[in-house]
């Protein structure tokens, strides 16, 4: 095991997969000469060259469109959208094409595409640059949506995403790149569509993913000091959603809090809670609670922005409410 940052783990996964398979190439804004806006592809341009690390104009529609086409024709593009907010400019390609081309033509070809993108708030970037709309993408059958919360998962899941023959949105969190964690030294893959228990406990089930995993882990540490043992189930993948570990945990704890960074309406919490009511209604000892972003476009002002984002204290209060 080596301790490394999320940035390094993602970068390693990309590097290894590009070494392994000539068909894998990177396409996006500032991925080459600049070295990636978040420095994930630093050094790639010099090593792999401009044919495989392709800087594009600012044109999200054609970045994803060309990646779709290249995938249909046998390549394995890793397209980078500088931030998830700009994915909205490529929405037609993602939703009407990446997600549907295969089934609509009766399975004649595959779309082995990875869209790497960066989401999340908390950096005072204002309303259009701070969103966490992960759930929007998870709405569409035909797409896979992965959002890791640790370096270990990021590396293993990205490698799987690149080897999968289906289109995958791989959502990184802008404030997690410096998060450190252990990563195996040898090659490993983490399966897409498998939730993972990141902390064991018997009192309350916390369901979360991505940045909010880290927030939930902090809350769990503090709750443990008061003798409350929280179990954390990390979804890791929003589609396919592996609900079984959540249900299993809930059957033991009988209490559940879902923590997501995005807005609660029609969100992850809404989905997970419904699944629990469908599959384990009789096990509930308290109403299921959600912790999420206040339903406002995120403001620039630091205090207001933090007020709108879910905090460790919000998780702690929600856990206390269901106890």
């Amino acid at each position: 095991m080596t301790v490394m940052t999320m940035r390094q783990a993602i970068s390693q996964a990309l590097w290894e997969e590009m070494e392994r398979d000539e068909r894998v190439f990177i396409i996006g804004e500032e991925v080459g000469l600049w070295g990636g806006t978040y420095a994930v592809t630093k050094g790639f341009y010099d090593h792999f060259g401009p044919e495989r690390v392709r800087d594009t104009p600012i044109a999200e529609g054609v970045i994803i469109g060309a990646a779709n086409g290249a995938a249909m024709a046998g390549l394995r593009p890793v397209a980078e959208l500088m931030t998830i907010n700009f994915a909205f400019l490529a929405m037609d390609q993602i939703v009407n094409h990446s997600a549907k081309l295969r089934s609509m033509f009766g399975g004649q070809f595959t779309i082995p595409l990875v869209i790497r993108t960066v989401g999340g708030g908390g950096r005072q970037l204002g309303a259009t640059h701070s969103q966490t709309p992960d759930v929007v993408f998870a709405h569409f059958p035909g797409l896979k949506v992965v959002a890791p919360g640790t370096p270990y998962d990021a590396k293993g899941l990205l490698k799987s995403a690149i080897r999968t023959d289906d289109p995958v949105m791989f959502i990184e969190h802008a404030t997690l790149y410096q998060t450190r964690g252990e990563v195996p030294d040898g090659e490993y893959l983490e399966p897409i569509g498998v939730s993972k228990v990141q902390r064991q406990g018997d009192d309350v089930t916390l369901v979360t993913y991505s940045k909010m995993l880290q927030v939930s882990l902090q809350a769990a540490d503090q709750l443990a000091q008061d003798g409350v043992e929280v179990e954390i189930v990390d979804l890791r993948s929003l589609r396919p959603l592996d609900i079984e570990p959540v249900v299993a945990s809930f059957r033991r704890t009988n209490r559940c809090v879902i923590v997501e960074e995005g807005w609660p309406s029609y969100g992850i919490g809404a989905e997970v809670a419904t699944r629990l009511y469908e599959e384990a209604f009789d096990y509930a000892d308290a109403p299921i609670r959600r912790v999420a972003q206040k339903e406002v476009p995120l403001p620039y002002n630091r205090e207001l922005e933090q007020l709108a984002l879910p905090q460790v204290d919000d998780v702690i209060s929600a856990v206390k409410e269901v106890l």
């Binding site: 500032e30 070295g35 104009p57 600012i58 907010n85 403001p299 620039y300 002002n301 630091r302």
Partner: protein, 320 residues
């Protein structure tokens, strides 16, 4: 342009420059957050273009907007307050550097999604024409923005509907780290207007007098005939935003452009042609210093928005 107006423009350009140098300092101190894109090097574009407008003409631009805001008449105090996220800022602390606007000054923002404000300009010009107004809409954007679909859709529609829009491309030769040559099929951006049968021109953006003259001509055309694209060749002296490693350009190149500082060029012009003497210009520089100091003081002593502000101005009627 008379002597008095020239002095005002000189003052404005120096004000923009010093305001941004100060903003960079405050950013380093952690008082300004988020992204901060400096206009330093491009001042002659904003001042030259905006000073050519009539009050009824609308102005809309991208996120590199401090200079345009000042040129539209926003005070340094209000800009600074917004940069510090204060309640007294033009967007009540909710927008930050990239989202300055004051509709009373006919300045419609500061927009941070590349290219997204071009269709807004089409709509504004449509509304003006629809309502029988004589106003034009001036829409500024970068070279990088001309590669996105929005640009092409907007130019085309403005032409089809013969709308009063002046498209101003601030070609500073890079979109982040990507040079025009690496991103655009034609490096003279004005050529893109040819594809839509649109009148166009290209002008040196380091010389405010040339920018002024070209804009006046363009606006006259817009009012009589319809859309027009003006490409202004300029350069940003600083990184794309704070913390840009600038691996994509040589320092020689940056220096060469810095030697053509638009403020220096205009200053020399004023001196050499006897419009103003050194004393007057130095006095103007000093006035700017005072204004900046006062702006910082105003911003720092202004209140933060109240917590309730989080839920305000989202819908016309408040929500909880």
């Amino acid at each position: 342009m008379d002597k008095g107006e020239m002095l005002l423009l000189y003052h404005e350009m120096v004000l923009v420059r010093r305001l941004e140098e100060k903003a960079a300092e405050l950013y380093q101190q952690g008082k300004v957050g988020g992204f901060l894109h400096l206009y330093i090097g491009q001042e002659a574009v904003g001042s030259g273009v905006v000073s050519s407008r009539r009050p009824e003409d609308r102005v809309i631009t991208a996120y590199r907007d401090h200079g345009i805001a000042i040129s539209c008449g926003m005070s340094a105090e209000i800009v600074m307050a917004e940069l510090l996220g204060k309640k007294t800022g033009c967007s009540k602390g909710k927008g930050g550097s990239m989202h300055l606007a004051d509709v009373n000054l006919n300045f419609w923002g500061g927009h941070a999604i590349v290219g997204a404000h071009l269709p807004l300009a089409v709509g504004m010009a449509l509304a003006d024409k629809y309502q029988g107004s004589e106003a034009a809409t001036i829409c500024l954007f970068g070279d990088g923005a001309t590669n996105i679909g929005y640009f092409h859709e907007s130019l085309n529609l403005s032409m089809v509907w013969s709308l009063p829009v002046l498209w101003v491309c601030e070609n500073n030769q890079y979109g982040m780290g990507t040079s025009v040559e690496r991103a655009s099929a034609v490096s003279e951006i004005r050529r893109k207007a040819d594809g839509y049968g649109m009148q166009n021109d290209r002008v040196d953006g380091m010389d405010i007098l040339q920018v002024r003259a070209a804009t006046e001509k363009a606006l006259e055309y817009v009012r009589k005939e319809g859309p027009y694209l003006l490409e202004v060749v300029t350069y940003r002296f600083r990184g794309h935003s704070m913390g840009d490693p600038e691996r994509y350009r040589e320092s020689d190149e940056v220096q060469k452009w810095k030697d053509d500082d638009p403020i220096g060029i205009f200053r020399n012009y004023l001196l050499e042609n006897g419009h103003h003497n050194l004393e007057t210009l130095d006095a103007e520089d000093q006035k700017v210093e005072d204004e900046i100091q006062q702006a910082v003081q105003f911003a720092e002593t202004s209140p933060d928005p109240a917590p309730e502000a989080l839920f305000q101005d989202i819908y016309v009627e408040g929500v909880e």
